[in-house]
Structures are given as C-alpha cells and as structure tokens.
C-alpha cells in the first residue's frame, strides 16, 4: 500500500515531464448563426503555440496535447491578426464555449 502511494506520488510529479496534456475542443459560429468552417485555430500556452488546426465544415475544432493551465485561444479569422480569448485548460479534456465571429 505504501509502495503504491509512493508510485502514485512520483507519477503525479512526473506528469509535466512526461508531457501529459489535454484535448481542447470547441465550435466557431458566425453571428449570423451558421458554423464557421475551415478557420485556423491555435492555442498559446506560456509563449508556446500549438500546431494550428482547422475547424471542420460544421465549425468544430479539436486541439490535441495542450499543456494544462492558463492559455490563450487564438482564432485566425483574419490572416495575420488573431481574435484571442483567455481559457483554462484541464486534463483530460476541455470544452470551450461556442465563439461567435463576425
């Protein structure tokens, strides 16, 4: 029992080193009410930006392996200037409320 507790404690400590991370998902919509498809999305955590993903035709996006913590969701509605939102990422999965885009 003592051994198991020790192992669990070490595993919890090692989590950030092992790169455990969360999946972040959400949906983009236009204010007109239809899904915003094929929009580039990135998440910036402590200055490290994830690989960009694109929303599907139905506006849903899925960003894998985002480090837990306070991050910035970046939506590249315009080519060179993202619309940014502060989010909290928690393992194993984080749902972002639907974002309305102009």
């Amino acid at each position: 029992m003592k051994y198991l507790a020790k192992c669990t404690f070490i595993a919890v400590l090692a989590m950030p080193v092992l790169g455990w991370a969360a999946n972040v998902r959400g949906k983009l919509e236009r204010v007109a009410g239809y899904p915003a498809g094929y929009i580039r999305v990135t998440i910036n955590c402590a200055g490290r930006r994830t690989n960009s993903v694109y929303t599907g035709g139905d506006g849903f996006y899925f960003v894998p392996k985002v480090p837990a913590g306070s991050c910035v969701l970046e939506i590249w509605n315009a080519k060179d200037k993202p619309v940014s939102f502060q989010i909290q990422v928690r393992e194993p999965s984080t749902q972002v409320p639907t974002v309305k885009l102009p």
């Binding site: 999946n23 094929y38 690989n51 960009s52 899925f62 200037k81 909290q88 999965s93 984080t94 749902q95």
Partner: protein, 185 residues
C-alpha cells in the same frame, strides 16, 4: 495535346532539321555519331548524325510533357450573393471530386496542384479530415504529424500506418472553461 497530334509529330520530325542544316551549311565537318540505340548498333555521319541527335533530344523533351490522361483546366466565374462579408465561408465543391479516391478500408489518395513559393519550394496546402462522428484532424503537409513522420518522395507524401487516428467526438466528459475575450493587438 491530343488535338495537336499532327502538329506535334511534324514539330518533332522537322524541328531538328533546322539546327542540323545550319550546322552543316556553315560548319561542314565529318562529325558522326555511333553507338547502340534500342538494341541496334548505329553509325551515322554528317548532317544526318546531327539530325538524329537533335531528334532524340526533341523526342525526350516531348516525353516529359504531361500525359493525356489528366488535363489541368481553369474555371473562372463571379458569384452574386448580396450580404456575404466573409468570402472564406464561401465553399465551392467539385462533385464528383476526381482529385480524391477513397476506398472502403478508409485508404485515400488525393491529387494536388501544388504551387511553388518565391524560393522555389512547394507551397503545400493543409488537409482537413472530418467525419460527423469524429473530431476533425488537420494535416500540415510541410511538417510531420505530432506522432508520425511523413514519408516524402519526389512527388508523393505517404501517411500510412496508424498516423491518422481520428478521435470520437465527446468521448470523455470535459471541463468547461470560462472564456474571456482579450483586447485586440
């Protein structure tokens, strides 16, 4: 090209005559060409040798041209849809999309037109794989996947193995994050 068969054939046969004539009119010589060609032993002299060499060069050039099986067409147009602000939301689909083939075992093949950037490197587009039951997955052809190396050959990218694993939508209960809009930069 198919419609210009006679023009192409005429060009291939007659074009080499020009340099051959010029060379041997103004620089007469006893130059020759000999060696094996398609299993035959050739020994050619004078103007005909030059003609034959240039003919081979022109023929090999025409062999490098795109085949007749695929033609690149351009379709141009303008759409009237008042009130559309986001042109990126406008989707134009090709049905059937002959640029891609999918088989029942979920293998796929996509033919892409890839332009070159200012440095002459291929400017790859991104591919989004989506299905209503799964989370969409983005593939950047200019970089490896997070857990997979893309096998690139001359004009082929091979994403085989278990590289493309779609995850089911909403499979795990999720923490709902608060969302705070940050000021524009």
């Amino acid at each position: 090209m198919r419609n210009n068969f006679y023009l192409v054939t005429g060009t291939v046969v007659l074009l080499p005559l020009v340099p051959a004539y010029i060379l041997f009119k103004f620089l007469p010589s006893e130059a020759g060409a000999d060696g094996p060609y398609s299993g035959l032993s050739l020994k050619l002299k004078g103007a005909f040798a030059a003609y034959f060499v240039v003919l081979l060069a022109v023929m090999s050039f025409f062999h490098t041209l795109p085949s007749d099986q695929v033609e690149v067409w351009t379709v141009k147009g303008k759409i009237a849809a008042p009130g559309v602000d986001n042109v990126s939301d406008l989707r134009i689909s090709i049905i059937p999309d002959q640029s891609q083939q999918k088989t029942p075992d979920l293998a796929f093949k996509i033919r892409l037109v890839v332009p070159r950037d200012s440095q002459g490197k291929p400017d790859f587009p991104n591919i989004v794989i989506e299905h209503p039951m799964f989370n969409p997955q983005t593939i950047h052809l200019d970089q490896d996947l997070p857990d997979c190396k893309l096998a690139k050959a001359d004009d082929e990218v091979d994403i085989s193995g278990d590289c493309l694993k779609l995850s089911k939508r909403g499979e795990t209960p999720a923490f709902e994050t608060p969302l705070v809009k940050l000021p524009d930069h």
